[in-house]
């Protein structure tokens, strides 16, 4: 930006503030005539006390007070907030809503931005979309990217402790689950610990699951 444009920019800025002020005066005169029956109307009005500048302009503005740019095509398929009448004149096309997550997203857009349901459904759709993406990766033989996508290489280099801790916790969880599932086959290894399995057996759902699993394994 050269100096001329720069000055122009500054002048525009200050004009805007004056314009705001002048429009305020005009409006005051117009409304003053209309509201002359209200005693004391606007006697203390102070146009300079405007903490909302530059967000609000005092002259009447509406969504039809600017010439809209031409419409990007394909807008029929774009989800738009129901707080606006139509799709904006340009929009992104990064990832059209599709699949199950797309259905949830379409549902979300039935609610306005002020509703919790709108955002909650979108977050749910995001999680479903992650599973869809993972399934797609597997279909394309890319499931092995899982750890590298998480930046494991950098973490291994600069933060090995976290990687080791996570791996240890992961292994422990898998080990525990395997232990629960296969406990009938290994009771003799640790006979004195049998009461722990007994405790677990009290949870009938888990018990049923384990029995089903064992039956399946025996088949």
């Amino acid at each position: 930006m050269n100096e001329r444009e720069n000055n122009e920019h500054k002048i525009n800025e200050s004009n805007k503030k004056n314009e705001n002020f002048n429009n305020g005066q005009a409006l005051k005169e117009k409304l003053g005539a209309k509201l002359s029956h209200i005693k004391g109307w606007a006697v203390d009005a102070d146009p300079k006390n405007d903490p909302t500048y530059p967000m609000r302009r005092r002259e009447k503005t509406s969504s039809s007070s600017w010439v809209r740019p031409p419409q990007q095509s394909g807008h029929e398929h774009i989800l738009h907030s129901n707080e606006r009448p139509d799709v904006t004149r340009v929009f992104g096309t990064a990832a059209p809503a599709k699949g199950l997550s797309g259905m949830i997203r379409r549902c979300a857009f039935k609610y306005s931005e002020g509703r919790f349901a709108h955002w909650l459904l979108l977050l749910v759709a995001d999680r479903v979309n992650t599973v869809e993406g993972f399934a797609n990766d597997i279909a394309h033989g890319k499931s092995c990217h899982y750890l590298t996508d998480k930046g494991i290489n950098a973490q291994w280099k600069y933060d090995r402790k976290t990687v080791v801790t996570k791996a240890a916790v992961g292994a422990a969880v898998v080990g525990l689950l395997a232990g629960i599932c296969l406990r009938r086959h290994i009771p003799n290894i640790m006979p004195e610990k049998r009461h722990i399995w007994g405790l677990l057996d009290k949870h009938s759902k888990l018990q049923r699951f384990i029995q089903d699993y064992e039956r399946m394994m025996r088949r």
Binding site: M1, E5, H80, V90, F91, A94, W119, L122, N153
Partner: protein, 379 residues
């Protein structure tokens, strides 16, 4: 072309995608020369922004060369070297006309509360981002600014977001000569806010964070005071004590939705997503500012709601100012500051990582590994 590809929370990769095309007569296609990862991208990366779709490309801080222009583009020529503000703005709506380029009403169909932003989920318009070899730039006559001859591209790329955001944070604080300003967050944005506070005449600038390496950096770079809240039991009380028990004139929240420091906020805001992020820094800002003071928010929060002490805002008579940065509005002044050496943005860049290794770049920046302040991606 090669582009960053989001796969789900915490997982990204570089993969090949089709070249972007002109979809509107006011579009341009830009070949990216520099791009950065921003603290805002981490909200997407962690899966906290609703409508972040798998397969999309992030990135709203980039410079590049104009490769192709649409039929109605007048101000740009093929071959121009441009820096591209992160906001997508039409330049015509009532908000753009007032210089509020972060609040454009013609760039984001999906939400009315936020304007269009490159590579920032479908909640911000569904645009592909600049962490790629090429990118589609809508309303090319409005945002993109030709990089002045002689300006380092590393400086230019930081003018697309970080520098104007820090500057606007200070501007919105309404800082008067002699004011005491507290900045929460010593990330790139907080660092630039601290530096900018002096430009508006602050008498004292204090920065709060939890990472010693960033605090060391900001102390030297922005010549300010810097304190680690991990070694302070009660940050609000601490600020009161060092500000004559009245509080700071201005507090700036340059942290946003992923703040640490309060278990309650972290669990409800970041783990359970019961609120739109953890509002710890905002809570501290409100509580440590002087009565009648100003809280300026540039840290980003989600669209639902947060737990903040609104009663204290009332009782203390505070003014809260906040916005997405209107990058283009600040560019003339900031370009001048960079050219005159008043601001030195490129010193923030600690890492230069090939786009190919994007997963590692995100991990390093997200986990604050290897002394990272600002990572730059090389295409």
């Amino acid at each position: 072309m090669l582009a960053m590809n989001y796969r789900g929370p915490g997982r990204v990769r570089a993969s090949h995608k089709p070249m972007p095309e002109i979809l509107h007569p006011q579009d341009a296609i830009v070949r990216v020369t520099r791009s950065c990862i921003c603290g805002s991208d981490l909200h997407l990366y962690h899966g906290n922004v609703p409508d972040t779709r798998v397969g999309t490309t992030f990135g709203h801080e980039f410079t590049g060369v104009v490769e192709e222009i649409g039929a109605e583009v007048r101000n740009l020529r093929v071959g121009d070297q441009v820096l591209v503000p992160f906001n997508i703005a039409c330049g015509k709506c009532i908000f753009c006309q007032q210089g509020l380029f972060g609040n454009c009403h013609e760039s984001n169909p999906e939400a009315t509360a936020v304007g269009g932003i490159f590579g920032y989920s479908h909640t911000a318009g569904g645009y592909e981002g600049g962490q790629a070899e090429y990118v589609r730039v809508p309303y090319a006559d409005v945002g993109p600014t030709v990089i002045p001859a002689g300006m380092d591209l590393d400086d230019a790329v930081l003018l697309t977001d970080v520098v104007p955001t820090g500057y606007q944070a200070a501007e919105m604080g309404g800082i008067q000569v002699g004011d005491t300003v507290v900045v929460f967050g010593a990330g790139p944005v907080g660092i630039m806010a601290a530096k900018s506070a002096w430009l508006f005449g602050a008498g004292r600038v204090i920065v709060i964070d939890q990472l010693d390496y960033r605090l060391e950096f900001v102390k030297r770079y922005a010549q300010c005071e810097a304190y680690n809240f991990r070694s302070i039991e009660d940050p609000v009380l601490f600020i009161k004590k060092i500000t004559d028990h009245l509080g700071a004139d201005v507090c700036i929240d340059a942290v946003g939705a992923e703040a640490a420091g309060s278990a309650m906020q972290t669990i409800t805001g970041r783990k359970l997503l019961l609120q739109a992020g953890s509002a710890t820094a905002l809570q501290w800002s409100i509580n440590s500012v002087k009565k009648g003071g100003v809280v300026s928010i540039v840290g980003v929060y989600g669209p639902t709601g947060n737990m903040i002490p609104i009663g204290n805002v009332l009782n203390k008579g505070l003014t809260i100012r906040a916005n997405q940065t209107a990058v283009k509005r600040h560019l003339p002044r900031l370009i001048e500051h960079v050219q005159n050496g008043v601001l030195n943005p490129k010193e923030l860049i600690t890492h230069r990582i090939p786009l190919q290794d994007i997963a590692d770049a995100y991990r390093i920046f997200s986990d604050k590994l290897d002394g990272c302040i600002k990572p730059l991606l090389i295409t």
